[in-house]
Amino acid sequence: MNKKLAISILVYLATVMLYSMGDGYIFLENTTFKFGVVALVSMTLYYYIDRAKSGEEIYLRPIAGLKAIEEAVGRATEMGKSVLFVPGISDMDQVETVSGLILLGHVAETTAKYEAGLNVPVSKSIVMEAGRETCRESYLRAGRPDLYYDDMVHYLTDDQFAYAAGVNGIMIREKPAACFYLGKFYAESLILAETGNSIGAIQIAGTGSPSQIPFFVTACDYTLIGEEFFTASAYLSKKPELLGSIKGQDIVKGLVMASMILTLVLHGLFQAGWLGFDIVTIFGN
């Protein structure tokens, strides 16, 4: 066992022990287990981020949709058309919107490099501000601040279907060559993706909303399903801290799977009368 891992385990155990001493006094009653899980996930992520920062190479399997981003922007440039980026209809308090804006940064950098037009209609004022900041920074990073203008990220309306109607209008009038739907979507997803499909645009979608993924899978060329969408920023940036966090998340998934199998077996043994305690009780209500 290496030194860093041993220190991480010790810190984890000490933290959980300290918390359990304050359980019911300083902290909420019967929350030690949940705190333990939060601390375990945090420590695991931190440990792998640290390893990635110290130079360890991390393998990431290829995701087709991410490779296609540059291809789509390139196609728009060749056709002399613009790129449409839709960050969804939620505010910045949704993780999907934050992820979508991170990807907007990458798309904006690519459009700046290729000198392609970019159009980002938004439905929330704070998203508009964040989107403008993201695009400005990306154009600056690409060495083309002269191509940036505030109105490339513009507000339409807060209303879900009015926003969908507005984006549809932009699509059928401007006929963008590439459409990106990256963010949190609700019932408007199929309306947007179908319109994009009808104008012949190459479409790349990504969302964490399970109920909307089927529509994107049906109507788009590439779809980033659930967590593929959240990891996209790490894939594209190749920053060690982000790559490390993906490795850490994979380890957490492994732990979750092991816990599920263990829960199934131990609960089965309890019901068969071969075990004195029911593991389900430790999860609380």
Partner: protein
């Protein structure tokens, strides 16, 4: 013509204008789209102010206090800021006071100074309009993103991880059907999780399990798609039923008259627009 009949004509016109998109992007669709966006943008701005900012922010900072409440100098100074806001919002007293009522806003019984933080962050967002200090808007955005990440971390961990692990405990004392169903869901969850492993190549048995996972996901997506299509069909039926109701003599035959008007207008527009298109193509 009564307001109800006038309203029904507007409803029918806007509904059919939106449906006209099925033919092509045309002036009726454009008009309906712009009305929809404009009206909703205004509506949401008013709702956000009167249901959030006024009662929840101003109402907490300057609540209407009881007569016997704190009459200290600090309190007077605090409420003099309120009076300044009122002076500005009423255009130096020329308009009726509505945003800042006399003595404070009703709803809360004490001043909650903690709400100065969102108030200041909100002002920071507005400072984007002043280029020199526009960078302060980033602080507000950073606060929202950071706070969201922290808050969601625990709630997602609880609902998506702990409850999922708990749900994997299949009840073996139940009926066979329920046990088999539970086991299928269990296998689907495990293989679905395997599909979302990014730091390992999907080859060999790991790849096979990952493939099973994606089959489970696709089955779920298919079911979800069918369910949503059913929902959309019922929405369409609702609209058609309303159009049918408005086609009666009671509403002066709103649907058939407007439908005919739109069809004739589209025919003329198409003829003229087609000519223009041919001209530009030549």
């Amino acid at each position: 013509m009564s307001v109800e009949i006038f309203g029904s004509w507007i409803v029918v016109f806007l509904t059919l204008s939106i449906f006209s998109y099925l033919y092509d992007d045309n002036p009726f669709y454009k008009a309906a789209e712009h009305i929809f966006i404009g009206v909703s943008a205004g509506y949401w701005a008013v709702i956000a102010f009167w249901q959030q900012i006024q009662p929840n922010l101003f109402g907490r900072l300057w609540p209407k206090l009881e007569e016997s409440a704190d009459t200290s100098v600090l309190n007077s100074v605090w409420y003099s800021i309120y009076k300044v806001f009122n002076y500005i919002s009423t255009g130096a007293g020329t308009l009726d006071r509505s945003v800042f009522p006399e003595g404070g806003i009703e709803g809360y019984d004490e001043i909650r100074l903690m709400y100065i933080i969102p108030f200041i962050l909100g002002i920071f967002m507005l400072l984007r309009l002043v280029p020199k200090v526009g960078w302060l808007a980033r602080w507000a955005i950073a606060y929202i993103v950071g706070m969201t990440a922290g808050l969601r971390f625990y709630s997602f961990l609880n609902s998506d991880i702990l409850l999922q692990i708990k749900a994997s405990a299949v009840d073996f004392t139940g009926e066979w059907g329920a046990i088999i169903n539970g086991m299928i869901v269990f296998i689907g969850t495990i293989t679905g999780l395997i599909y979302f492993f990014f730091s390992k190549e999907h080859k060999g048995s790991f790849g096979t399990l990952s493939k099973i996972g994606i089959y489970f996901l696709m089955i779920k997506f298919g079911a979800s798609f069918g369910f949503a299509v059913m929902g959309r069909i019922s929405l369409l039926i609702g609209r058609i039923n309303q159009l049918k109701d408005y086609s009666s003599v009671e509403y002066n035959y709103a649907t058939p008259i407007i439908l005919l008007f739109i069809i004739v207008s589209l025919g003329i527009w198409s003829f003229m627009d087609g000519g223009k298109k041919n001209e530009s193509a030549a």
